[in-house]
């Protein structure tokens, strides 16, 4: 296969957010299922080497280089590697600890607990050295990668693409699927509130002070899904794959300002009334959007009940009504994001509830 052919293949795989997102989810599941295999140092190092090799190869491409070497984006590339490492490290330790527990041995952290070291030099000296080396890194970085002043902001001409700071690109990606008040206000607030609520929801006493996967599978999987898939992957989307007009581009594709994507999204009400019932849309908004309301309310009210009766029965019993209610609300909201994305990709669904009269759309 030629180099161009390979690049083309990659580009066509990366050509839509749905493939990339769903593939990431699949990969996420595979990694968790075969976590024992993937955390072996040899495997992890091989994967890291493969990713580095891919970057090295890809850097020969002008379009890829243009995006990756942009001074703003360099730290994000670095972050991806750091993230890989810091996901691998605790998982590896957790597996080892789980093995020890299975054999009836104490966890690593337990054995370390009794040892004591000197503040100087074992702590402070190391900190000093870290300070020196990190200062060195920052100084060199600031010399090599300049941060230029751009043009004065012009209200008549927005930069294309207009991108948020990299740490907000996940939020910006949500704007594709949700109205600003959800993607920009409601969901971010809920993320903060949800994180604050964790200590009160989490009543699992295990895993304090040591790494373990077996004893806290639910908490770890939920966190990793929320962080890696719903936050980091969306930042990667926003940084590397979203180009002019917020269109989706393959990593080797030229960011053509004139690229056009079809605009064919429809609302749920249009599906129901026009497509299935064959009538025109009702004039009154409540009649028109009633199915959306039923769906949303059902999602948040019926689903918890069903889950509490079936697969989450044990959890429900352990947590009690209030904890369960809060937890399940947060969970469903979190899952609402990928669900809406899939609905959009699969059915071109624009909004479940669309009431432009009140600027209220979900």
């Amino acid at each position: 296969m030629t180099v161009e052919g390979f690049k083309h293949l990659i580009d066509s795989f990366f050509s839509s957010p749905s493939t990339v997102f769903l593939a990431s989810v699949a990969l996420f599941i595979v990694c968790l299922v075969f976590v024992r295999f993937f955390t072996k140092p040899a495997v992890a190092v091989s994967i890291a080497a493969a990713v580095v090799a891919f970057f090295a190869f890809a850097a020969t491409d002008e379009n890829f280089r243009l995006i990756v070497t942009k001074p703003d984006n360099v730290p994000i590339v670095g972050m991806l590697f750091l993230l890989g490492f810091f996901t691998w490290l605790p998982l590896r330790k957790a597996i080892q600890n789980d093995d020890r527990t299975a054999k009836g041995e104490p966890v690593f952290e337990k054995s370390e607990k009794d040892e004591k070291v000197f503040t100087w030099p074992d702590l402070v000296y190391i900190e000093l050295i870290c300070m020196v080396l990190l200062t060195l890194l920052l100084v060199v970085w600031s010399i090599v990668l300049k941060a230029p002043l751009e043009e004065p902001a012009n209200p008549a001409v927005a930069p294309n693409p207009s991108k948020a700071p990299w740490y907000f690109l996940g939020l910006q990606e949500m704007l594709v699927y949700f109205d600003p008040w959800i993607a920009g206000v409601f969901l971010p607030s809920l993320i903060i509130l949800g994180l604050m609520a964790i200590p009160y929801i989490d009543i699992n006493p295990k895993g304090n002070g040591y790494y373990t996967l077996k004893e806290r599978p639910f908490a770890i999987v939920t966190f990793l899904f929320g962080f890696l898939i719903l936050w980091i992957i969306l930042i990667v989307f926003g940084t590397f794959l979203r180009g002019p007009n917020w269109n989706f581009f393959g990593p080797f594709e030229y960011w053509d300002v004139y690229k056009v994507e079809p605009l064919v999204n429809v609302n749920l009400s249009e599906f129901v009334y026009v497509k299935w019932l064959g009538t025109s849309l009702p004039k009154f908004w409540l009649t028109r959007e009633i199915f959306g309301f039923v769906l949303i309310l059902g999602y948040f009210l019926i689903t918890p009940l069903l889950l509490a009766k079936t697969i989450l029965k044990n959890l429900y019993l352990k947590m009690g009504l209030y904890r369960y209610a809060i937890m399940i609300f947060l969970m469903l909201t979190m899952l609402g994001m990928p669900i809406k994305m899939v609905l959009r990709w699969a059915f071109n669904l624009k909004y479940l509830i669309a009431i432009p009269e009140f600027f209220f759309n979900i």
Binding site: Y125, I126, L128, V132, L133, T135, L136
Partner: protein, 952 residues
Amino acid sequence: MARGGAYLRNISKLNVLFGVGSLLLFAALLVMIADDTVREWKRYQREFNRLEVQKTKEQLESADAKVDKEKLTQLTRQIEEAEKKIAGQKDQIDAVQKELKQLEAKIYKTNQEYQFTRSYLSVAKYEYEEAVQHGDEKEVREWKEKLDHETAKETQFKKELDQLALDKQEKEDRVAAIQSEKVALKEKVNALLKGKARFEKKLKNIKPGFRSWILNLPMLDFIAPTRKIKQVVVEDLKEDYHFTKVPRVDRCMTCHMGIDKEGWEDVKQPFKTHPRLDLFVASTSPHPMNEFGCTVCHGGSGQAVTFFDTAHTPDSEEQKKEWEEKYNWKPQKFVEEKMLPASLIESSCLQCHNDGNPITIKDAPKLTKGKELFEDRGCYSCHAVEGYEDFRKLGPDLSRIAGKTNKDWAAKWLKAPLAFRPDTKMPQFFDLSNTSLPEDIKKNNAEIAGIVDYLYKKSGDFEVPQTYQGGDAQKGKELVANLGCMACHAVEDWEGTDFGPDLNSIGSKVDPSWLADWVKNPKHYWKETRMPSLRISDDEANDITAYLMTLKNEPFEKMAVPEAEPAVVDEMVYDYLVSQHGTVMAKQKLDAMSEDEKRLYLGQRAINHYGCAGCHNIPGFEKAGKIGVELTEEGSKDPHTLDFGNIHIEHTRQDWFKTKMKNPRVFDKGKVKGRLEKLKMPNFHFDDEEAEALTVYLLSLKKSEIPSDMKELLDERGKAIVEGRRMVNDFNCQACHLIEGKGGIIKETLADGMAPPSLNTEGAKVWGDWLHSFLKTPSTLRPWLQIRMPTYGFSDKEATELVKYFNAVDNQKFTYKSKEDQIPKPSKEQWEVGKQIFDQFRCVQCHQAENIEDRNPLELAPDLGLARERLKPRWIVKWLVDPNRIMPGTRMPGYWPDFQSPLPDVLGGSAKKQIIAIRNYLVNMDLYEESKSSKNDDKIGPKSNFTTGRRK
């Protein structure tokens, strides 16, 4: 755990890590300082300093070479001698100087005491005043004593000081007297070395040395470096940051260090002198750097100090390549208003000089040309632009076209205007780059046929007073050559003008009866035409027609007439109908139409689509609007809003404009578009130079951010000149006449002495009322000329504007004083002297109106009988003094060369008195004439010699 080996980590390894880390950090800090210190502009300043030192050294050497060495040696020797003399009196000088030193010490001490006393005195004054206002008697008395005491002391010290000063002066004088000879000599030496000293001083200032090295060291260079960023802050010309406006800060001169200095014309950039110091940058120019900065004209980022950040724009492909190699140039994305390339810089002038004042923008030839082209080719017909609202329609009236030419001609003309007339102003609408596929050409032909059908169907009847009966083509040819037709029209070999249409193909176009009528009275067919009447008789008209009908364009006549295929007409009519009625209605309407109706409809829609009515008067389109984009602020349009299509050029306004001008349809290349979506601007076939001139003009059409007091506003005179020039251009006056030093091309087609007069100083020369009536109804002034001043049919307003123009050009002040009062009245004696001189010089020999048939036209001049009515007395004087200065090459002799009179006996030989006398006679010829005994002012008028008939 004990020390030594008992730590968790290996301390010696940590030490190494710490040591290496610290050294690297130190190195990084050094690199940081270096990175901060090494700046592009410093390199240029160092280089400039080197060049300046070198230059100053050269100047110093040449100044040194100019010094009179011999004299210098002599002076030096004299000084030595004088010094010897002084040495003889050394004891004396030493003694005086010793005394002086003591004296100075004493002065110092006394002065100090004096100052202290004054200080106490101030206190005493204040306390005494306070005591008088608020204190008791005792206090008043005490302070009064104190005040008196201090006052006395002060007076005493002052006296002493004055005396000491006198003593000192006396001693100094004594020393000076001994040294006076030497001092005088030294002054002479200084005078001799004055030129050199200037450069020595300069060299000392700019030459790098230890001091400047220290001052420019990193971390010390914040104090007073010799290399530093230079800038001007222009308060009045703000920079728009969209949310706020800030004073403009331009630092260009940080690198362009020779920009305001003469003598740097031949060095390399960035040190070159500004090419127009007379106009810009220099403090004596109208645009000094301190008041205007640089970027208000040049664009670019004024605050930046690197080649890249300032957003330099290359002027050509070669320069771009050169810059790419030399400076690693690439387009600067972050500056919105990038620098203008040098060749387009004139587009900045209009932002202040936007009153359309051609006087001040005469130094902007490209801009002027662009503006002229814009007006000449009728860009305003389709594109609305502020200031062009009341411009006339450019093309001929088509409301009665059936009387002028035939349908076949019209169709072929629409298809290929250039094939008929290579220099026509009519642009090409069809068969262009986006409509040249075979199916497009079929559609083009259908539209052409439709347009012609429409025009002829709607054409009104045109009745000529008499049909053309034939004439003498040879005579006609002479008439065309002599009457002045060639001032505006190119005919046969004559290509000196393109003002009116080239007549070389006219025989293939028009109906002869129409032509005969047109030649006689152009306004009969087209009311607004600029073609004037030359007062042509019926016979002359027939002869001219006979001649013009012989000028044929054979290849054009043989061209196939574009035919419309019915199927294509159907398709296009359907397309047009759909755009208005939707598909179903369109189908119904189409089916209901006859073939004729379809073509008529297609023609009407095509005329509307292409905006023909912008230039032509077409029945049914009396209220048609402009079809193009408004261009009033085109020059500040964001390049993102311009569609560059698949054309790979720089995404800048200027590149887009230039490319568009050369081929208006080019941006459709490679695009899938329906017929009606395609770009429709016609092709004007502009060459590179014209495209560039238009680009300059388009760039100049922008929102002006200049405060009104910085703009140039026209006064009455300026306005009159602007308005007049527009008329002069509109009526092509300069084809025949020299006006403001320009024009008179018609001369090339005429025999010597047969050319129309120069109008230099016309405003100073003739009376406004006379000019006004002449313009409205021209009379014959120079009966020997065959060429005729046309009758333009000026309105009173137009004639007034032209008179105002001529007066403004010659800076004539308006006065309410009547003409009669302005004409001087001589005494009888003076009058008689005038007449005597008049006869003596035999003025009438040339200045006469009769018996001119066999005379050499070069020896003929206007009838002086008109002088009173026509000429301003003041001008006559100037003219008589030196005719050649007013009209170079005139045959009128100057009788008073260098103010020397050839008539020493008349009026004491005074040239001035003689000139006044003859002038006064000229404007009062009949005043004391014996046949006219009446002295009534009202009846005075130079009628006796006034023989010219109105209209020849």
